[in-house]
Amino acid sequence: MKPNGNGRGVRVSEHLTRADRECLLRHMLMMRLSEERGLTLYKQGKVPGSFYDGCGQEAISVGSSFVLGPRDRTCILHRDLGAHFVRGVTPDRYLANYMGRAGGVTGGKDGNMHFGDRSLGSVGMVSMLPDMALVATGLALAFKVRREPRVAMTWFGEGSTANGQWHEAMNFAGIHRLPVVFVLENNRFAYSTPTELEYAVDPVARAESYGFPGVAVDGNDVEEVFEASRVAAERARAGEGPTLIECHTMRMHGHGAHDDMRYVPEGVHEEWARRDPIDFYSRRLVREHGFTEEDVDALRAEVKAYVDECAAKALDSPMPDPAVATEGVFAEAWEPLGDGRAPWSYWSQDRALAEVA
């Protein structure tokens, strides 16, 4: 269950309430069902361009972003819809963005997963990978310069670790011990390229040579991802610097909806399907945390109804006014990003307020 796992993975967190656990499952379900809905809209020809999802990787973006406080900041990538939802984006604005509607997060300026809700503390990804690792490093630099107990979190795939900007981000963050959490999603492929053509040695091994810990966890176990992220965020907040968390998983869909995945060896999907993060966690909630099958089914039904509602809302959203096409190239003034939602019970009202103050 934990390829290259380094044994540090905590499988059952002591920092989660029943409500937290339900919240984790809820967001994984919300991601899965929203992306399935997006794919349907794509097949119906309602999504211009291409379609990308993170099916099979829901535990990673949900489990890691769940540790964040309101004032923390994120650069969320293309397999990480769950992190957008955890931070407060609603599925309607995600679906509207895919459809290029005015109601999408970018209002039609950018598409698919290339968005971030500035009012929720998120900086929208660029396509060039892994550029956002440097941007997150810069956010963390600001936190350190101002001595603020805040964390920047960003994500990237294993293929992106071959790019020079990845190295520059790791090295810079290591030198200045910046409060940034790097979540590496090793989903076995970069588009069609298998890991043996991306690197000779698993990139988690590099972390130490940048001067900070690298930990490998089961990316399909949301609590294990949560625990590694919680420790990393604490470290960062305490001024001890970055952490590289490698989450082993498998990209269960094509790179994009057009990709037939011919290149994936026989049996790999089947093997990983047995380790579906949502089924896995649902079973665990029932087995170990006093949830009933009915609780889980009810939650799934509730989320499904909500996503349906959001899809309808997205479809009602109009196309943007062509006049905006030439607006906004330059900013009139700088304004701070808003704060993100922090659903983890740890961020109780007063703690959140205290932090904002």
């Binding site: 290029g100 698919n112 790019n163 053509l197 062509p322 096409a325």
Partner: protein, 321 residues
């Protein structure tokens, strides 16, 4: 001759060259096992083997830098940027290493960088750019941008045989929409020569890439005597053809999909201003994308990129001048 799409012509030209010269090799992300994001090198791995069709890691400077080294040693690397937009990630190796080695050290760098460029299908800000003007500000690079299937094959073959680094702009919007008769077997098109795509007497549209077809369609629909020049080669530019075209009709519209400021259109306009002052009956006009990132949503993208109606309008205005 055989009917093929622009995309097939690129594949065909590349395959022909790889068969002809075993020093030709393909290097890029997903070009081997997957056959390239746009399937240009589909089947190449089987035919030519993993020594000549190489899946690169996600590292554009590595792709271009490794190609420079391999080219110096006598290979003929054809690099694929998965999208032209990603050239910004290999920019330094291209403009400072590849472009300048022959001038500085007398070391020729025979390589091609294939750049799937252009928009029109909601690619958004990072999958729609037309970076050609950057290359004209980096002396030492040749730059070609075919508009037809025949030239796509011929210019790619010529680019591969050229002893210099050549940026090959293949417009994604033409991949499947442009079809034409293409010579089978070996076929080259001289780099540096423009092509008269359509004869006319009243107005000369100087264009390249996706703007050529737009100009031809506009001319047909307007039913006016409009000459359309397809530059094909942006560096070197065919100054003679530009000057002749301007002199012939006395009215010039320069058209391209790339953004406006300091684009190739500005260069052509400046050349005409310098060389044809006495010959013009109207101001040289430019039809280009606005100076904004290329937006994703169809109505926004259409507002930014030159459309057929814009082309017709620009022609009408100049004809009426």
């Amino acid at each position: 001759m055989a009917e093929m799409t622009y995309l097939q012509a690129i594949s065909d030209g590349l395959r022909e060259e790889m068969r002809r010269d075993e020093s030709v090799l393909c290097l890029g992300e997903d070009v081997a096992g997957f056959g390239g994001a746009f399937k240009v090198t589909d089947g190449f791995l089987d035919e030519f083997g993993s020594g000549r069709v190489i899946d690169a890691p996600l590292a554009e400077n590595a792709i271009i830098g490794a190609a420079v080294g391999a080219a110096i040693e006598g290979l003929r690397p054809v690099c694929e940027m998965q999208f032209a937009d990603f050239i910004s990630c290999g920019f330094d190796q291209l403009v400072n290493v590849a472009a300048k080695l022959n001038y500085r050290q007398g070391v020729a760098v025979p390589m091609v960088v294939r750049l799937p460029s252009g928009g029109g299908f909601s690619g958004g800000p990072f999958h729609s750019q037309n970076p050609e003007a950057w290359f004209l500000q980096a002396p030492g690079l040749k730059v070609v941008a075919p508009a037809t299937a025949e030239d796509a094959k011929g210019l790619l073959a010529s680019a591969i045989r050229d002893p210099n680094p050549v940026c090959f702009l293949e417009h994604k919007g033409l991949y499947r929409h442009v079809k034409g008769e293409v010579p089978e077997g070996e076929h080259t098109t001289e780099i540096g020569r423009a092509r008269i795509a359509r004869e006319g007497e009243e107005l000369t549209v100087i264009a390249y890439g996706s703007a050529v077809g737009l100009a031809e369609r506009a001319a047909d629909e307007l039913g006016e005597s409009i000459e359309v020049i397809d530059l094909r080669s942006l560096c070197p530019l065919d100054t003679d053809a530009i000057v002749a075209g301007a002199r012939k009709t006395g009215k010039v519209l320069v058209a391209h999909e790339a953004t406006r400021s300091c684009g190739v259109g500005a260069e052509v306009s400046a050349l005409v201003a310098e060389r044809c002052f006495e010959d013009l009956d109207a101001p040289v006009r430019r039809l280009t994308a606005d100076d904004v990132p290329i937006p994703f949503s169809p109505p926004l993208e259409q507002a930014v990129l030159p459309q057929l109606e814009d082309m017709k309008e620009a022609c009408r205005e100049l004809l009426a001048y």
